[in-house]
C-alpha cells in the first residue's frame, strides 16, 4: 500500500492577518486588492491582543428526528447553523493624539454598530502585501460599541479597548482576492 497522503503543515503562527474592509462590491464577497488595502481598510493584526482577536465561531445543532411509533432506533438531522462573532480587545492609548496608531482602532469603531467585513488571511507571513489570487475568509461584520479597559494584569497591564463583534451574514471561506 502506498504511503497515505500527508499534507505538509501550513504554518499559521505569525502568518495570520485580520483586516477590516468597509465594503465589498462583489456579490460573492471576494474583495479586490484595492478594497482590502484602501486607506479606509485596516489591518488590525498587530492592534488586537492575542486573546482579543476576532475568533469567529460556528455552531451547528444536531437534532433528534421525531421517532416513529414503531422505531427502535432513532437518528438525527443537521439543524440550524449559527455563526458567531466574539470579543475584540485592541491596544489603546487614552492620551494619544487623534489619528495616532494607538487610537486608530478606537476611532474606527467607537461609533458603535459599525458595519463592514472582517477578512482573515492565513498561512502567509503577516507583512506580505495583499495580492490578487491570495485567499481570505470574509465575515460580514458589525462591531458593537467599544469601551476603554485594560489588557493584562499588574505589571503587564496595557491600555486597551474592548467590544463585541457579530457575524451578520453568510461568511465566505477561502475566497480569492480579485485584482
Amino acid at each position: 500500500m502506498p504511503e497515505p497522503l500527508r499534507p505538509s503543515p501550513a504554518k499559521a503562527f505569525t502568518r495570520e492577518n485580520w483586516f477590516y474592509i468597509p465594503t465589498i462590491a462583489s456579490a460573492t464577497k471576494a474583495p479586490t486588492v484595492a478594497e482590502a488595502t484602501a486607506a479606509s481598510a485596516l489591518d488590525f493584526t498587530n492592534m488586537v491582543f492575542a486573546d482579543g482577536a476576532p475568533t469567529p465561531e460556528q455552531n451547528t445543532n444536531l437534532v433528534d428526528q421525531n421517532r416513529r411509533y414503531g422505531d427502535a432506533a432513532n437518528y438525527q438531522f443537521v439543524g440550524t447553523t449559527t455563526y458567531g462573532g466574539n470579543k475584540l480587545t485592541a491596544a489603546f492609548n487614552q492620551q494619544a493624539a487623534a489619528l495616532a496608531d494607538a487610537v486608530k482602532f478606537w476611532e474606527k469603531f467607537q461609533a458603535g454598530n459599525v458595519t463592514g467585513f472582517f477578512g482573515y488571511r492565513a498561512n502567509v507571513p503577516k507583512a506580505t502585501a495583499v495580492t490578487a489570487g491570495q485567499f481570505m475568509d470574509i465575515f460580514p461584520a458589525e462591531v458593537g460599541p467599544l469601551m476603554p479597559t485594560k489588557s493584562g494584569d499588574g505589571e503587564g497591564a496595557e491600555g486597551a479597548v474592548t467590544g463585541m463583534w457579530a457575524i451578520t451574514d453568510t461568511p465566505a471561506f477561502k475566497i480569492a482576492v480579485l485584482a
Binding site: P22, T23, S26, A27, A38, A39, S40, L42, K108
Partner: protein
Amino acid sequence: MPKSTPEPDEFGRLRVRDEDTGHELSIPAAEFPHGNYAVLKESASDINGDAIPPKHASPKSLSRSSTPNSGQQAGTVKEIDHA
C-alpha cells in the same frame, strides 16, 4: 489625509466616496479621517436612521483610469457579480 471632519447628518453619518475604491458608502463621522474619503452631498441615512447601502463602483472602470468615477458615473454602474 483629509482635513477637518465635515458636519454629519442627524444620525452621525456622512455619505462619502472612497477615492481608493470608488465605492460610495455611509460612514460614522469619526471614521472620516481614517480613509481617503470625499464627502458627497447625499443623505447618508434613510428616514428610519439606518445607513443607506453602499453603491459600488465598477472595478473595471477603476483599473482603466487612475481617476475615480464621478458620482454620476458611479450611480449608473450596476453592482458587479464576480461569480
